[in-house]
Point group: C2
Chain length 360, copies 2
């Protein structure tokens, strides 16, 4: 069992990374002082795999579990779904001491976190992420949100969980494509913050892709450490420090929006976005062609897409302008300087962007 | 001009109390570093009185004002209204550096604060309260919320404004009944925290009710000071300190719910609730009959209701159980020990409550 503390003053919490430990969920809730009613927010698929184990663990620790299922899929990441959760919590008489568990992937985590942030002005919640993407990214850092029809994550709150419980055993039930998509965020951490970790990924890719326990524990731990470190320095994404986590995401979000969230999984769009950002960096003489090549090759070896679908330039620009990371109406891009270091860049002219989109 | 600082670490802000100062709104925004787009959330009535003055003040300070009107009334304090605000902000391309102004009463303040808390995971907002109730209570302390059909304020967030600008001149346009209703919260501060202030209210009631400038400045300043002091010690309403602000409110909310938010204004329901709480305190030998009498007499002199409409006991109980202040399914009441001091009391048996409801 690995334990990483996210130091955020009175909002600090631990990330636990372990194997076959979902059965200890009840003890984790007790350890942080939660009791009474607990709402397990999940979808029917995840519920079938892990619901019963968690419920029994909670009962064993003297808690009162209730299962709240929501439909599976990003297109249900809406205020409407959150409203249904509110209705359920009200009818179950959830109180300010009651809590929620987000059991599932990133969508479940974002929705549950937002419901916890806004029900009775905030009740405690913990994350039990069951996808690689959620384990290394969305479950850590307190960003909660739902989508607006005009863009992703436009409605949300910063609201930290009280614990993140990562059971790597859950990854064995994950469809292969989902696992691969999650690897995009793992690669991202290497590029933005840690060349040694990037080397590790290059050198141990077979073990990782065959999901050897030690490799999984290592890549998830290192990813969470890097994310925790960044979040600690810029919890609310204001100083610009946290923005480096958006490497690959400004292009990625635009690709997802244009393709209607259907063609690509989030991690796949981010993989293409990282290649685009790296290519843009080369074009601007910020980064060597060699570094760009290493990023693209690693993503290719993992099995992630690295080629852009045909995009309409002006539509892409419009969507990126709407992206919530815009500031003073200039788009900010996170671009690599080398493997292990990125910079924020906003002095772009349209021609640069047009060229990178056309070149891909 | 009076200035009260609410000390909440990096969420600290000033409350400004002044006369004919709404025309300085732009300067206040500049002073706290806001620029660019500003959404003035208001209703058509308030907009007619003050909208133009604020817009011109903002333009004069180099800001870009947009007016977002929402329908007037508590029944529009819903997620639906907030959704309409989100849509407007998205279409106006509001960014993370853009801000909102809540221009109006408590409903406007609660809705605007919640929209600010949840749009792009939080944008800055300031409060410009134009009712006495909002000036002495809801605009200070960062409680934002909308109602759920099953109860008031069930959906919300703690999210502090960056400034509260109270122009007492706005009270001259306030309907008399609204002003009187707001006085209930002013009386509350005397009962829960300051006997000297309660004496002042008794002795200067004529000046207050005829809205003499000095009296208004004093009662608003003292009310805000007391509220700020309590909020500083218990920002998120967890230690129990902030709960004393709910004096009169547990009964008050039940009365509002049972009467469908139609018969009474919030302050009127709170006035009746305070009399009920005081009567309950006498019944439990916590408080003298004399103190109860002083509270009831002052409320009567102000012109507030102090008699209970016919209530169904079991329905009242059910509604109070749903109230968000419930904790471990026991109802907590704030009861006076004397003028200037209250305690939290939860060891009530149904018979006590039944008696106080029947006696009223």
């Amino acid at each position: 069992m690995q334990r990483i503390n996210v130091a955020l003053g009175d909002r600090s919490y631990d990330i636990i990374i372990c194997n076959e430990c979902i059965k200890d969920t009840g003890n984790h809730l007790s350890e942080i002082g939660l009791r009474g009613k607990v709402g397990i927010v999940t979808n029917p698929v995840v519920n079938r795999y892990f619901g019963r184990r968690i419920r029994e663990s909670l009962k064993g620790a003297g808690l009162k579990p209730f299962t709240i299922t929501i439909p599976n899929g990003e297109r249900y990441k809406t205020l409407k779904t959150v409203t249904n959760i509110y209705d359920k919590l009200v009818s179950l008489k959830f109180e300010r001491g009651s809590s929620l568990i987000a059991l599932g992937g990133g969508v479940i985590g974002d929705i549950t976190g937002f419901a916890a942030a806004t029900y009775l002005r905030g009740i405690p919640y913990i994350q039990v992420p069951t996808t690689l993407l959620a384990q290394v990214d969305s479950s850590v850092g307190g960003k909660t949100a739902v989508d607006h029809r005009k863009g992703k994550n436009l409605i949300g709150a910063f609201y930290q969980p009280q614990r993140v419980l990562i059971d790597i055993d859950t990854l064995h039930t994950l469809p292969r494509r989902e696992f691969i998509a999650g690897m995009a965020e793992v690669v991202k951490y290497g590029v933005i913050a840690d060349e040694v970790f990037f080397n590790y990924l290059e050198e141990n890719l077979n073990d990782i892709l065959s999901q050897k326990t030690d490799s999984l524990l290592h890549i998830i731990k290192r990813s969470c450490e890097i994310k925790a470190h960044i979040v600690e320095k810029d919890e609310r994404d204001v100083s610009g420090r946290r923005a480096i986590l958006n490497f690959g995401h400004t292009f990625g979000h635009a690709i997802e929006t244009i393709t209607g969230y259907k063609k690509f999984k989030h991690g796949e769009a981010v993989a293409i976005g990282m290649v685009m950002a790296a290519r843009l960096a080369v074009q601007l003489n910020l980064c060597s062609h060699h570094a760009y090549k290493r990023i693209k090759d690693l993503l290719n070896r993992i099995g992630l897409p690295t080629e852009l679908p045909k995009l309409n330039f002006s539509e892409t620009m419009k969507i990126m302008q709407h992206d919530k990371k815009v500031s003073e109406e200039k788009i900010k891009f996170i671009l690599p300087k080398r493997i292990g270091e990125v910079i924020s860049f906003s002095d772009l002219v349209h021609a640069d962007l047009k060229r990178v989109i056309e070149d891909m």
